[in-house]
Amino acid sequence: MTKKIILLTMLITTILLNTACGKETKNESSTEKPYSFTVNNLTFELGSEFNAEDYGEYVDYSETSSCAFDGLDKTYTYDHYEITTYPKEDKDYIYSIYFLDLDVKTSEGVAIDDSKDKMIETYGDKHEEEDGFYIYTKDKTQLRFGLQNDKIISIEYLYI
């Protein structure tokens, strides 16, 4: 009887431990190439390690922290875009690329002030909509367009 109870409790614990560790997350393997941003022959790969010295001179730099966790998000402001990184094990990785003006285009040639039609023509109509943003997702990267009156008012690449 004792052995049965011990075995039963061990079995229940094992089952619970295995089932409760987390629901299986969808691991959709994508053959699509993630979004990246190229400007002046420099390519920024989202989620890849970032060393500021490899990308020329920036005009501003700032740091932001989270409420409780260690590490700093670092933002490097260049003339027409801003790169934000997240920290992981003493290194910084590209998290966001944000366009600051009309003088810069996505790798596929879309810029702020372009029309919604041009965006659809270039990226297709397979996108999600959230709070006025049109979001294209490839692998672990997103390209987010903010639209107002069918005109693009903001562009941001994100690593998710």
């Binding site: 009887m1 619970l16 431990l17 409420c67 409780a68 933002t75 934000t84 903001s154 941001e156």
Partner: protein
Amino acid sequence: MKRIIRVTFIIIIFLTLFFGLQRLVTPKYETNLVEGHMIKEYYDEEKNHEVIFIGDCEVYANISPMVLWQEEGITSYVRGNSQQLIWQSYGLLQETLNYEIPKVVVFNVNSMRYSKPVSEAYNRLMLDNMKWSKEKISIINSSMLEEENLITYLFPIFRYHSRITELTKEDFTYFFKDQNVTYNGFLINKEVKPYTSFPTERKLVNYDFSDDNYHYLDLIRELCEKNNIKLVLMKAPSIYPYWYDEYEENITNYANKYNLDYYNFKNVVEEIGIDYQTDTYDGGEHLNLSGATKLSKYVAHLLKDNYELNDYRNDDKIKEIYDEKLREYQEECDK
């Protein structure tokens, strides 16, 4: 009969091992990520607060109840957690009212901008040490990310069992022992990091707060009304993340519609005396001890002047409790 005794004995052994192991592997939040310890400190408190502050880091980093006591004899507590979302604030207010009915609840509106849970890590900081209650279940259900499980919040061993190979000295030192990391919910930070620069303000398409967030703000308001509590809205001073003019308009409109008092302390930083070169520990996101003391003095006078609060420095019993707290607080401030 013998069999019943034996089975009972085995069950007791099993439960002792189960909960002992759970205690061992669950993070203690005593010396690392102390924000995870804040929620439980309230349960051991003397529940005599006339003012309760509810909100995210903008309350626990910026409002010091000890200063409110020193200045005006106000008894208060901060029930705030890192990245505390509005539905979590509502649940925490419900839980608080199970223990006491304050005269004033001050809700910091920063979380109105967030309509989705941010990460499991923030959920854990708030929920691991929250007492079991129907409010806790409700907060968990509203906060869990898709890949999370309710059972891991009810029995953290199912989330942290793999820590068994990563235990630190803290896990053993604080297995039985427990020490407060806050002073009535205020977390002291004495570092100084002057403001220099922040990322460019992001353009949004829609500056409206979500319907869900308004719904929870309605629930907070209605809960206060039902309990005859004066609800006050506040926005703590900070430079970043940006508090857009449109956000300000949304909150002002809400406050006007329901005849609520709303104070945006960002607009009076000069009057308060906050200097972002000396009064912040992270360049302008949160105030440090010096900044929080200035803001708390201002808030103490504002509350006293407008909400008919008692000066409990005339109450010997309460004074004794707060004098002891104040002594410890000042020791920590002077370190």
